[in-house]
């Protein structure tokens, strides 16, 4: 038990304090962006990190799926599943925060802006991933089929995220690191934004590790029951 002390015991509380500070700064320290209606720009501190976590999670799941198909190691299947459920959760959160922003900025929660369209498709695709997993009882077959579907799903994502908004006209603000590589943000806003990005990334990593460990225990129990 003595090895449990030190940083391992402290870091969750550091994370707690860090994100609490980010929340305070996001509302009361950073200024509101001038070209946005009222205070609506503040949601960027939460919306973008969530979208970022979702993107990284889906990428990670795709990589884990490819590794599974190569090495047939169930550990990779656990990783892929955990990353996908994390990605789906954060994509839902990004959708909700985006929708709140849309209500304030554009007057309605949902108007099928290309960004809203593409996130809807994304949610449908990854929800289908879990529908597929639920429909295959055999673990190895489930892992293979889910991995293949995950790869197929991941290649359609760039079409959704980059091509569809190019064809249709979008109201969505420029992504912050835009094509010119310039960051159009007030320096205080930028500090809070980066701090939030870092905090949410660590938090998501924590959730991911819990999910992976929980799934490992679940599977081991299932196997013990079978024996």
């Amino acid at each position: 038990m003595s090895r449990e002390g030190g940083f391992r015991a402290v870091w969750p509380w550091l994370l707690f304090a860090w994100l609490a500070l980010v929340i305070w700064a996001a509302f009361l320290w950073a200024p509101a962006a001038a070209n946005f209606k009222g205070q609506s720009s503040r949601i960027v501190f939460f919306h973008v990190p969530m979208a970022w976590v979702a993107t990284v999670a889906f990428l990670g799941s795709c990589i884990a799926s490819i590794r599974y198909l190569r090495r047939r190691n169930m550990e990779d299947d656990i990783r892929a599943e955990a990353a996908n459920s994390l990605g789906l959760t954060f994509a839902v959160l990004a959708t909700v925060t985006g929708s709140i922003f849309a209500k304030i900025m554009w007057g309605s929660y949902w108007n099928w802006d290309p960004r809203e369209t593409s996130i809807t498709f994304l949610l449908l695709i990854y929800a289908a991933y879990f529908a597929l997993r639920a429909a295959i009882p055999d673990p190895e077959r489930r892992a293979t089929m889910a991995a293949v579907y995950s790869v197929l799903a991941f290649v359609t994502v760039p079409f959704l995220v980059f091509v569809v908004p190019r064809i249709y006209w979008s109201l969505h603000p420029d992504t912050f690191i835009n094509t010119q590589g310039k960051i159009k943000m007030d320096s205080r806003m930028f500090q809070v934004f980066m701090a939030s990005l870092a905090g949410f990334s660590v938090f998501a990593g924590w959730l991911y590790s819990i999910e992976v460990r929980l799934e490992r225990i679940r599977r081991r129990r299932q196997q013990e029951e079978l024996l």
Partner: protein, 226 residues
């Protein structure tokens, strides 16, 4: 190369033969398409839509009919093998890529027949006359190919799962939604006679189809042998 084509051709012809005997897929596909077309034509008709909206709405309706009809039949080629328990035999006698190519050709043939019946009928009943016929044909061909490649792969996946019928559309439609947007854009451009619009959509559709083809070739063996 020639041997590959001959073997894939054999798989294709075998599927075609059983299909001609039973006509399960063609009936499902064709009847679904014609019924939906009748419903659309009856409820909306050719003149209910304002002139300015016609190119877009008619393109969207056409592709929605095609997509949903294909959900009704394009999984047959693999599901049938599992149902009649001929899949293990096929696994032993042919290489995965041969099977994939044969099944893809079969789905392409089904879609071609469907389009050959549906598109002229749709044009007549809904008064849909694209200005650029070649652009329209190009979009139909490229869109049909990408649709067939994607559904072939999904059909191979769901054939080994439970509750296949529902699962097929649940898994296919989200993957196909970007394609749906591109082909509707392209068909609209063809209907309005804008070659740039057609080319832009065609590029997107072909790159999507190309990526799906490459992925299928790489991933199909894993699915087939699981």
């Amino acid at each position: 190369m020639w041997r590959f084509l001959a073997e894939a051709g054999a798989v294709f012809v075998k599927d075609l033969r059983t299909e001609f005997r039973t006509r399960v897929a063609l009936n499902a596909l064709g009847l679904f398409a014609v019924t939906t077309l009748a419903a659309v034509s009856y409820t909306i008709g050719p003149y209910r839509i304002a002139e300015a909206d016609r190119p877009f709405l008619l393109s969207a309706l056409l592709w929605i009919v095609i997509f949903f009809a294909s959900m009704a039949g394009l999984d047959r080629s693999f599901v049938k093998e599992e149902d009649t328990q001929t899949a293990p035999l096929l696994r032993l006698s042919a290489s995965p890529l041969v099977v994939w190519a044969g099944k893809l050709a079969f789905n392409l043939a089904l879609l071609a027949v469907l389009m050959a019946i549906l598109v002229p009928l749709y044009g007549m009943l809904m008064g849909f006359r694209p200005v650029s016929l070649w652009g329209f044909a190009g979009i139909l061909a490229a869109g049909g190919y990408t649709l067939a490649v994607t559904t072939t792969m999904v059909a191979a996946i769901i054939a080994r799962a439970m509750t296949r019928g529902a699962l097929f559309s649940v898994l296919s439609l989200p993957l196909l939604l970007p394609l749906l947007i591109f082909v509707i854009q392209g068909t609209r451009a063809a209907a309005e006679g804008s070659p740039e619009g057609v080319m832009e959509a065609l590029r997107a559709v072909i790159s999507l189809g190309g990526i799906m083809t490459i992925l299928s070739v790489v991933l199909f063996p894993a699915v087939w042998h699981e």
